[in-house]
């Protein structure tokens, strides 16, 4: 069917006076469209993620194909406008050939270089960022959370993906380790735990700290720059989900936040206070108790998907969608390991 259409179109173009000139341009455009379709299928099959068409068309994948298509079209057009040599070249005489075609050679080289540079800049501008690894530090776990069981869950987060990994730092957190300047700075900070975490993150990359102490003026978690602090102090709000499920979810969300913040900033309305919610991961929970609803139906909005896709690529987005769903946590293998080795039962 498509080939028939192609035949009809090219047949028509052959017959028309301007058709022959237009044919290569049409070929490039069709090749670009075919490449877009293949790219979409590649993302779908390779990364297990079916992006919304709008998300895909705005993605760096699609934009890169469009840039290459545009560059080829521009090259075709500009090469056709090249100045003609005055006479045909004489074969075998290089110097004479060069003299006669100098303008044409410089024009072609210049046009190719210009378009190549523009394409490279376009590629660079739309390149996904590489994400960094994240250290998880136990700043104080509640009595119902076993450090080794939580560490196992964090190691499981490393298993299904190669995008980033978590290091668990077992050194107990001790305020006395801070320098006097750091201690003074943090004691005047409205979020001292976050300030301590920032000090830990300095020079070693992003850190997520887990504490059982309440946060000052924030529920569940707080984040700034390269540091995030998750608290289990609000356990009443996420019960009957266990602390392990809650921590697995919040660690993934805070990781994505850290990555976004370190690579161009958070979504503009991330966690902005509002009275309604559609349950998206980066939305403010108007009622503390609705956090468990968000965890159970965790999803990214199309805008968030688009942002993550373009910033880190489809593989990261696929991993992110998988991790926040917590399907890996409820898999038979993980559930059995948690139960038999650590005596931990999940809520569902």
């Amino acid at each position: 069917m498509l080939w028939k259409l192609w035949d009809i179109l090219t047949g028509y173009l052959k017959d028309s006076p301007w058709g022959r000139a237009l044919q290569p341009f049409l070929f490039v455009v069709v090749a670009g469209i075919v490449a877009e379709v293949f790219a979409y299928e590649f993302v779908r099959t390779q990364y297990g993620f079916s992006p919304d068409l709008r998300v895909f068309l705005l993605s760096y994948f699609s934009v890169r194909i469009a840039i290459v298509t545009g560059a080829l079209l521009a090259l075709l057009l500009l090469l056709r406008l090249e100045p003609r040599p005055d006479a045909r070249p004489e074969p075998g005489r290089v110097a004479a050939f060069y003299r006669r075609n100098r303008r044409s050679i410089f024009y072609k080289a210049g046009v190719t270089l210009l378009i190549g540079t523009c394409t490279a800049v376009g590629f660079l501008v739309r390149s996904p960022s590489r994400v960094s690894h994240i250290t998880v530090r136990f700043m104080g776990l509640p009595e119902n959370v076993r450090g080794e069981a939580l560490a196992y869950i964090i190691y499981e987060l490393n298993r299904p993906q190669r995008q980033w990994h978590f290091d668990v730092d077992y050194a107990p957190f001790n305020e006395l380790v801070l320098t006097s300047g750091e201690k003074e700075r943090c004691s005047s900070d409205p979020q001292p735990l976050l300030c301590y975490t920032e000090q830990m993150a300095a020079g070693r990359g992003p850190v997520i700290a887990i504490t059982d102490r309440p946060l000052n003026g924030a529920y569940f978690a707080t984040h700034r720059g390269t540091a995030s602090v998750i608290t289990t102090a609000d356990s009443g709000s996420y019960a009957p989900l266990t602390a392990y499920e809650y921590l697995a979810y919040t660690i993934v969300v805070q990781s994505v936040l850290l990555h976004l913040d370190m690579n161009g900033g958070l979504p503009p309305d991330a966690f902005a206070p509002r009275s309604s919610s559609t349950g998206d991961v980066f939305q403010f929970a108007p009622d503390r108790a609705t956090l468990k609803s968000t965890i159970l139906a965790a999803k990214l909005s199309p805008e968030e998907e688009s942002l993550i896709f373009n910033r880190f690529g489809p593989e990261y987005l696929g991993v992110c969608a998988n991790l926040i769903s917590l399907d890996w946590l409820y898999s038979a293998r993980v559930r059995t390991n948690l139960s038999k080795v650590f005596g931990v039962s999940l809520s569902r």
């Binding site: 001790n174 006395l176 380790v177 320098t179 006097s180």
Partner: protein, 163 residues
């Protein structure tokens, strides 16, 4: 025997639990010559105390309320500087993060893990004594842990010496 002259001095002490068995065990090992010759920045003599928690509950420590003292042969006991962060901040601030992590007074000593044959939890407490007041090897150390409400004497016991 001549071999004994180079052997470090091992001082030990214990805190008994309610059941009469050892709840916490402490030991400080001092090599006499290096203790007398070395001083941190010429100002502090350093003693490392091994703290084993054999109990089933954690031991909470407090840098402000706990106290380590060196009992000298002559003169009053010399208190150790446990909170170097506030006691000597220029010295503390000049140390690397790793070193500060090691030297910082611990906040807690976890209980012995469940299960038969499980090793007790061990932490090390580093006590800095003013070098101008500790000019010889102390006879013993006294360690007061506020949360336990006891002072334990850590001293050399010939029968308990390590081989």
């Amino acid at each position: 025997m001549s071999g004994d002259r180079g052997r470090p001095i091992v001082m030990q002490g214990t805190v008994a639990g309610d059941d009469g068995r050892d709840r916490c065990r402490f030991s400080i090992e001092i090599e006499r010559v290096s203790f007398l010759l070395n001083a941190v920045q010429g100002r502090y003599k350093l003693a490392r105390m091994r703290f084993e928690n054999l109990g089933t509950t954690a031991v909470t420590l407090s840098v402000d309320r706990d106290r380590v003292e060196a009992d000298m042969a002559a003169g009053a006991p010399v208190p150790a500087l446990l909170n170097v962060q506030s006691g000597d901040s220029p010295f503390w601030d000049g140390l690397s993060v790793d070193l500060r992590q090691i030297l910082a007074y611990p906040q807690t000593v976890k209980p012995r893990p469940d299960g038969a044959g499980a090793s007790p939890e061990v932490v090390y407490v580093y006590a800095l004594f003013p070098a101008d007041r500790v000019t010889e090897v102390p006879r013993a150390f006294t360690y007061r842990i506020d949360s336990i409400g006891q002072a334990v004497r850590i001293e050399h016991r010939a029968t308990a010496a390590l081989p």
